[in-house]
Amino acid sequence: MSQQQSDNFKPFNVDLWKYDGQEGALIPLLQSAQDTYGYISEKAIDYIAHITGIPAADIYGVVTFYAQFRTKPLGKYVVKVCNGTACHVNGAKPIGDTITDELSISYDETSDDGNFTLLSVACIGCCSLAPVILINDETYGRLTSPKLRKILRQYKRKVKEEK
């Protein structure tokens, strides 16, 4: 990426790189990029390579190593299914199946209209409510298939109305 192009790139908190003057700030920098854009684009990687001097391939290696970093944008509503142990033994699998069926997306996929993304996450810490899902920041617990379908249909209606 040329100097001019990277200057045009909407900057995120690049000060994080100078933080401490120490190497090792690459991860906070990537976290800041993801906070700003929702995911880490190729452009962002090039930009970080440009300001840090770390080869883009190395940065890509770090991005793909950690589960937190995404290289694709997320849907408007992110459905996270808790697959912690408590949820697993309380039936997280049929919960995931129900969502797949209702929204026609598998794990790590975003629906074609960009409205829903389905993710599997490790314990979100409300084991007492298992099985649990999160839709954006809203928690839904003690789920059964019928209860979940109702919830998902509410979101589908919401999406339609918003249109």
Binding site: E23, I27, T85, H88, V89, P94, D97, I124, C127, S128
Partner: protein, 585 residues
Amino acid sequence: MKTVKVGLGTCGISAGGEKVYKAFQEELKEHPNAFVLKETGCIGMCYSEVLIEIENGADSSVFYGEVTPERVGEIVEKTILSDDTIEDWLAVKKDNTKNFLENQTRIVLRNCGIIDPGSIDEYIEKGGYEGAKKALTTMTPDDVIQDVIKSGLKGRGGGGFPTGVKWNFTKGAKGDQKYIICNADEGDPGAFMDRSVLEGDPNAVLEGMIIAGYAIGADASYIYCRAEYPKAIARLRQAIAQAKKKNFLGDNIFGTDFSFNIKIKEGAGAFVCGEETALIASIEGKRGMPKFRPPFPAISGLWGKPTNINNVETFANVPWIILKGGDAYAAYGTDDSKGTKVFAMAGKVKRTGLVEVPMGCSINEIIFDVCDGIVDDKKFKAVQMGGPSGGCIPADQCDVKIDYKEINKTGAIMGSGGMVVMDETTCMVDVAKFFLSFTQDESCGKCTFCRIGTKRMLEILERITIGEGTMEDLDNLEELSGQIKNASLCGLGQTAPNPVLTTMKYFKDEYIAHIQDKKCPAHVCSAILEYTINDACTGCTICAKACPTDAILGDKKELHIIEQDKCIKCGKCFTVCRFDAVVKD
């Protein structure tokens, strides 16, 4: 004046705690100065979130469980404005002899759910930072280390290495700069002890780190915390800022020439970073891959400097030990294992949440006396300890004492404290598959046996759960397990086969049932179940429409049936049915 404390740990928030808190704020507008509203961390009774405590003076308090915003008005009216207790909503019922809290010994969780974690003053009121003051102003670093060795405290992250001895190594290492790292990368599925401590009593961890820094001669430190714990990170930032203002952190702490600073590093979601050398690589901004040891981090750690890494729970014990003395701590526990241990109870147990018990207490006591037994009084089958590195202990061995050596004898490990309780509806082959798919996913890929071996083991387990396993597969699993354990560099690979090995040891009959009878005794593995439809069917036709092979027959408003020879056992009818009419066997 009454005080209302709303539990706003992650568990409380996800159950709707913030809405309850807001409802109380609204009530305060209507009844100004009727009560004081505070937030607190998790007291451990996650099973009854949203939990609130109404304190009337120092000795009298009531806990209400499963509070909703709708109930707040009545609670204010009856319990706060009058002195009536609403018996039905009590979290701790008076007739309940098996009291959740009374059966515990709380050292690590001494302040969790009691103080406002956002107020350093409340922590100080409870004796906070007295331990650090005592260490820095009246003890030499060697005194501190000797006291910690005397206490018998072992690493609570799972390793179980004596903490004082570890400190001594780093103290003795040559280097102009030394580091303390607090490992808060709690990654075991089913474990949430460290999160609750960080959210409920962050200052206890900071104080433990200050004492460790003084003992070792380190002035800089990091807390490596999972990014999935945003609340814990916010609490830590707040606590660090407050501690700096009080000069518990910074230069010349307590007027001595000791200086200490703490920085937070957010992890980015990699289980393997719980391993010391991988964690260090991650702080350095690299892919979190483990390195060969020696050299141990105590000699060459972060940026090649001597580094001491302890877990959150270990640090939270330290202020108590320094303040009350190593002997007082060692008075709890067994010959081998001293003090207390926090467990995160999850799965099919009535009271899920956090418990802290003295070492030497049995697993049965935790499950039946503290946690009130199994949900729906079903048959208790096994308990899984130590997460993906641990193993399953069958019910008939659960009189085993909580003790590092005793637990190891069963094939499981103490681990960091995740305890998942399983009943007759849990399939042990499925559990083994669950943990193995987790470690397989999280293997960093450096060691061939861990990378490929776990993949092969997972394939075998998948075959077994769909009824295509052979008896030879069991031998292969055992052989692969041995090879993976021997040929992996770090703890992740060395322990990854444990869940498979222990379930094969204690529940071989279930494996055989899957292989020879093509049956899943717990009715979990859907591919080898038979689906049928019972009388609850209303003939809504939704299952027939959902069936990908048109195996479901029946007219509208008539009972439907499944043609077994066409059924591919995908389970779709079971998930779409709204009347619980599809049965699996």
